[in-house]
Symmetry: C2
């Protein structure tokens, strides 16, 4: 196995580290945030907007693309990169999470997951092998092994069984992994049980993956529990591979998880919240439809260098939002993505200069919060 | 009155001509198409997209901005240009058309138009004087006189009365026109009656405006009647002023109207149709959701240089459209606007090289149509 991760600088104060991951579509720096492009588009923005916002890698959802337009069609048209005109690296999830979150009636067997399309109800089946096949057809740079999701709360036996099945599926994914130019990450499950997390991590490391993801967090548990499972899982994973925390989270979650040693993140929060008019700033969040912004000539965030903040006032953005203009979703997304990506740039600079602890303190001071713990 | 229009080259074959119009926010070439920015945004695109598509002037709707967010707020925030971050010229309509088209119960008196907001039903009144006041508050470069709309069909008496009232309102607008840096155009009404059109044109020219618009067409009449009223009206207007055909139209309408001597156009067709998945090409229109585009790797129009055509396939655009992605509206709008603006660039080049008749012939040949008349 080629080494895909290089640690460039480790913090002397915590587990935060600067690194880079090499893929078939280029190398990206870590810690990194990946905008989510569910249906072959990061909602409301184009690839050039992503590029201008500073995105280095994006995420695609296997489940959605499998159903529509179909991975065979995307392969026929030259793969996902060409299809959506994104030249940089793409990570695809395995589809596991969506099968469970969008399908109340999904049925899991040793063989795989049977589920119905959320679009038209038609029946589908995804096995560990076909999950890899679909992701290879898409031409993903980083594929994820198919995992099972553990609901929250779950008792120990339920969590243990699901974690064991995820382990067996992970081994089958690794075996099915034919195109070794495409990287494959395993996913640590284990619910909210540290010993299951430990078993899962050891099993995955035994199989051997290009990187390791922490799954099954941000599924409804309190934030303290999420942070604790992240800390536990990140602590179990080998430091010569990238660690990816799936589906997380708030700006605070990113800062805390980097502190714990996480290298990669994805979350719909910046894009989804943008469409709902919730904007991130260095001093906290604002809800743009609020009437106090009616005549506010200031940009969303005076520290922000995005197209939206360089050109438009809060008053204008509020007008667009209350007028239900498409441009509201677009400009809000441009800003929120830039906020997340700039936060990661600042985090990388802080680690590079070995002042991450000070950065973290300042991050909370600006938003008039106290650091957790 | 300063001369705002300069004719650069007249066609030797027809009334088509190349010109330019000077405004407080710069000079634009004619014949020109103005994208419509109803609510202080051209729907689904940003000012930088407009600039890249080749837009030189855009239109704002006084009626909509008057109601939301209000002209006083826009003035307070530095005017419409700064509010929407568009540095080029802006033409604003008078609100007359929307009052009639969005308000079944609008009541017209000598004094002005009383109407109810289409947003919340609250009552408003617009007079010729306040229509100018609102447009001055917006900081429009080209203001339109308040006119009355004549329904189609209308009998001669109805049309004559409305046309006479428009004339009296035009005189009041001219008198109220305080800031002479902002240009003011009069609107020729007259319904489908050539003698009323003639009276209206003469009356407006007597008053004296910076430019003249042809209103009251494209209100439901057959295309032949629309073309005839355009021809009649354009023929009545002085050649040392710009002639603006309001709310028209299809690519064919633009070519035919330039032929008749029209200099300026606006229409929601490229933007609205884009959002409905109808795209313009040199060989005709396509409906992108059509299943024949499912696996079509070609761009919308191989002759087009827009961001959409340089990067995305019809198959991808179909996928976005059927998946109801916001990016569908955005990319389709980018393309359709570029199509319209490129058509106008081609028209200007043809007039400049005195080959407009040949251009027109080729325009119809490509779409396998015959020129009208």
């Amino acid at each position: 196995m080629t080494k895909v991760f290089r640690e460039i600088k480790a913090s002397s104060e915590c587990r935060a580290r600067l690194g880079e991951v090499k893929t078939a579509h280029g190398t990206f720096p870590t810690p990194i945030f990946m905008p989510v492009g569910t249906q072959a588009t990061v909602k409301a923005v184009s690839p050039r907007d992503l590029d201008q916002a500073g995105a280095k890698i994006i995420l695609g959802n296997t489940y959605h693309l499998f159903l529509r337009p179909g991975h065979d069609l995307i392969r026929e048209l030259g793969g996902l990169h060409r299809f959506m005109a994104w030249d940089g690296p793409i990570l695809t999830d395995s589809g596991g999470f969506q099968i469970f979150s969008l399908n109340e009636l999904a049925t899991i067997s040793e063989e795989g997951a049977a589920f119905k399309s959320h679009i038209d109800g038609s029946k589908f089946f995804l096995s560990p092998e076909s999950a890899i096949g679909v992701q290879e057809a898409l031409g993903s740079d980083i594929m994820m092994a198919l995992d099972t999701c553990i609901p929250y709360p779950a008792d120990y036996d339920t969590a243990a069984k699901a974690t064991a099945l995820t382990g067996r599926w992970a081994a089958r994914c690794r075996k099915a992994h034919a195109n070794r130019d495409l990287l494959l990450f395993g996913i640590v499950q284990g619910g909210m049980f540290p010993d299951l997390r430990k078993m899962a991590a050891e099993e995955l490391v035994d199989i051997g993956f290009d990187g390791y993801a922490i799954g099954g967090v941000s599924v409804g548990e309190p934030v303290e529990e999420m942070r604790e499972m992240t800390r536990v899982s990140a602590g179990l994973l080998p430091r010569d591979h990238p660690v990816y925390l799936m589906g997380v989270g708030t700006p605070e979650d990113l800062v805390e998880s980097v502190f714990m040693g996480v290298d990669m993140f994805d979350c719909v929060m910046p894009t989804r919240n943008a469409r709902n008019g919730m904007l991130f700033t260095d001093s906290g969040r604002i809800v743009i439809k609020n009437s106090r912004f009616r005549d506010d000539p200031r940009p969303v965030d005076e520290n922000c260098d995005c197209y939206c903040c360089r050109n438009f006032s809060r008053a204008y953005l509020r007008h667009l939002y209350v007028s239900r203009e498409i441009l509201a979703s677009h400009l809000n997304t441009v800003h929120n993505l830039r906020y997340y990506l700039r936060l990661m740039e600042d985090i990388r600079a802080a680690i590079s200069e070995d002042r991450f602890a000070g950065f973290r303190k300042e991050f909370y001071r600006r938003r008039e919060q106290r650091p957790p713990g």
